[in-house]
């Protein structure tokens, strides 16, 4: 279900029909499955099916002038269910979203700040680039920074912004560093040279911002020799897999969880502490629906002694988005102003219903979103959110 992204560079809505992708769009049978599977579908004046109809009628201006695509959280649900296999989320919706954002009379403040911050500081929270390695303070294992030691390395670990700056994300970053050390992974990071991969720009779709970050990171990559890139953020994984390729990026890329899966035989005997948790796992949209990593996270969790996994009603390809993608991370206030319930608040109810006491996640957006949702649901203290890597470490450490 992946579009031939490389050939789409520079494609606009005007030229889209002339591409193989456009021909696919023409094959839409107007079944409405996309709209029905969209978590925000009921709030969109123009869900994907109607967008395609409006496109056929030459009435896209009306779509741009509505805020429908601002409500798209890039969850890939429509795309994964479309019987015609139209790459809605990957191609068409992005292009519509870009025009929507450009024509908004006022961009919602939090989103505007996040985009401006990403452009200026290389992270959406507007933190100093110099503090990007602050998560390493008090870390008792070595982490090589390439600008200090530029010897070729096997794994370039692209930490990304939330693991670098958000307090709970930093916990995950430290857990990953410790696990990599235990597994003797030959790894290094870019440190303060790293800037956000730009996925928030791509998917909220801000192509200029995305390009400026791609240009920047690509130039940094050429300075160093590495065999593969591993990132702690599924959104960055998407950026590298599907957008950087348009700009000539060729390295092998994966996310920390599928990467650890490759080390499973070595990892498993190290999981010695019994954790008496009942765990439910939330499939991140980018990791699951978009890249098909459904079983790797579950197998790793199952290998931890004592852990019992219970599934939420919606799991794997039916998982419901936490609402953080596509710029949604910075649209909570906007959605609230329109009385749209936060998707994370919705999703947390499913998690609670499983009776689990740990919600396991693998995406750094989910940690703050679900921790917040637990407070909203009055479940603070009864269920905790942990990154899979934190659980691995808990089972490993003496």
């Amino acid at each position: 279900m992946i579009a031939d992204i490389e050939s789409l560079r520079g494609v606009t809505l005007e030229t889209l029909y002339d591409t193989p992708e456009g021909r696919l769009i023409k094959s839409c049978i107007q079944c409405g499955t996309c709209a029905g599977s969209c978590p925000h579908g009921e709030y969109m004046e123009y869900p994907p099916r109607r967008i395609i109809k409006m496109m056929q009628l030459g009435l896209l201006d009306k779509v741009f002038d509505s805020d429908s695509m601002l409500k798209c959280v890039n969850c890939y649900a429509c795309m994964s269910k479309c019987p015609r296999e139209i790459h809605l989320t990957e191609v068409l919706l992005q292009l519509i979203k870009e025009q929507t954002i450009m024509r908004l009379p006022v961009v919602p403040q939090e989103l505007q700040k996040a985009l401006e911050n990403s452009y200026r500081y290389g992270n959406p929270m507007g933190e100093s680039g110099r503090k990007r390695i602050n998560w390493m303070q008090n870390l008792d294992v070595p982490v090589r920074i390439l600008s200090q030691n530029s010897q070729p390395v096997d794994v370039l670990w692209f930490v990304e912004s939330y693991p670098s700056y958000h307090p709970r994300g930093q916990d995950t970053a430290r857990a990953i560093a410790k696990i990599f050390n235990r597994l003797n992974v030959d790894f290094a990071i870019l440190g303060n040279e790293e800037k956000s991969a730009g996925e928030c720009g791509m998917l909220s779709w801000e192509s200029g911002l995305a390009e400026s970050l791609v240009d920047y990171n690509m130039a940094i990559f050429t300075k160093y020799k590495f065999n593969q890139l591993v990132t702690s953020d599924p959104h960055a994984l998407d950026a590298f897999l599907y957008r950087y390729k348009m700009f000539g990026f060729k390295a092998k890329v994966t996310h920390v969880i599928p990467f650890l899966w490759q080390y499973f035989d070595k990892l498993k005997p190290m999981l010695i502490n019994k954790l008496h948790y009942s765990v439910t796992y939330h499939d991140s949209c980018c990791l699951g629906r978009h890249n098909g990593y459904y079983e790797e996270p579950r197998e790793i969790l199952k290998a931890i002694p004592g852990i019992k996994i219970t599934e939420m009603v919606h799991n794997r390809s039916n998982s419901i988005c936490c609402g953080g993608g596509g710029g949604g991370m910075w649209l909570d206030t906007y959605f609230k102003s329109q009385n749209i319930e936060r998707l994370s608040d919705n999703r947390i109810k499913e998690a609670i219903e499983t009776g689990a006491d740990v919600l396991a996640v693998a995406c750094p957006y989910e940690m703050p979103r679900f921790e917040d949702a637990l407070k909203v649901a009055g479940y603070d203290g009864k269920m905790v959110v942990k990154d899979i890597t934190e659980l691995i470490l808990e089972s490993m450490e003496d």
């Binding site: 450009m102 100093s128 720009g201 400026s212």
Partner: protein, 259 residues
């Protein structure tokens, strides 16, 4: 309307500011510069006025690191021209910068019957907001600061302003053009400009560079020494149930003699 907006770059406080070895200036190693926040609002208000009443917007700023980014962004937002005044300006304080701007205006013969000059009402290195009043004085024009609303009446060539005072008081003023005003907040928050547009402007439009004679420009106050803020006692977070916290709070208040 002929709208002139005066901009200034200030240290970006996202980076921790450090005092340099001379104890008189900031350590330049990690210092970054950003357009002063109320200047952002002045620019936004200028563009809003142009959209409402027509005319042109000219953005002007003394040279500083990262100024080009700010000027290209001004062009992308809708400014018609952007000028960079070449030179080393960091030793100049507001009275000096006001002189620099007034010379710029005289040399370029910008002043006309329908000229409105806007700037931010204050900056982190000019909390008093002196620049607007100095400039008004140098140019012999009416001036008004801490403005939050501007309406223009083309028939009378006057602007009606709302000015904020402390305690929530507001005053309405009428000034005839030309005039100088300091903007506290624009009608709308500064708009978002897609980065693609800024990148495109960088390729297609030019920032005009201009020099002005510096003789006789006062640099205003001279900095003798900079100090870091003194660390005082940290806040204490009271833990416990609401009742326990309330009890502790009452104890603290009575210990301090407040109740």
């Amino acid at each position: 309307m002929n709208i002139l907006v005066l901009l200034k770059m200030v240290p970006d406080v996202v980076e921790e500011l450090k005092i340099g070895d001379d104890f008189k200036s900031l350590d330049r190693d990690w210092l970054r510069f950003i357009l002063s926040e109320s200047d952002e609002h002045a620019l936004e208000q200028a563009i809003i006025l142009k959209e409402k009443y027509g005319g042109t917007v000219t953005a002007v700023a003394p040279d500083a690191p990262e100024l080009d980014d700010a000027l290209y962004s001004a062009l992308a937002k809708g400014a018609d021209r952007a000028f960079k005044i070449i030179g080393e300006w960091d030793i100049y304080r507001s009275p000096g910068l006001a002189k620099v701007f007034s010379r710029f205006i005289e040399i370029n013969n910008i002043m006309g019957e329908q000229t409105l000059i806007l700037s931010g009402s204050q900056a982190i290195d000019d909390l008093e907001g002196e620049i607007v009043y100095y400039l008004a004085e140098f140019l012999g024009l009416p001036g008004c600061c801490v403005v939050t609303s501007v309406q223009y009446n083309p028939d009378s060539n006057c602007i009606t302003l709302l000015k904020e005072f402390s305690g929530g008081l507001r005053g309405e003023f009428e000034l005839s053009l030309p005039a100088v005003i300091g903007i506290q907040a624009a009608e709308n928050p500064p708009r978002y400009i897609p980065i693609a547009k800024i990148r495109n402007i960088m390729k297609t439009q030019k920032i005009e560079e201009i020099e002005i004679p510096v003789e006789g420009i006062p640099n205003g106050l001279t900095i003798e020494k900079l100090f870091e803020p003194e660390v005082t006692d940290r806040a204490e977070i009271l833990e416990g149930t609401p009742e326990e916290v309330a009890r502790k709070l009452v104890e603290i208040f009575s210990d301090k003699g407040i109740i």
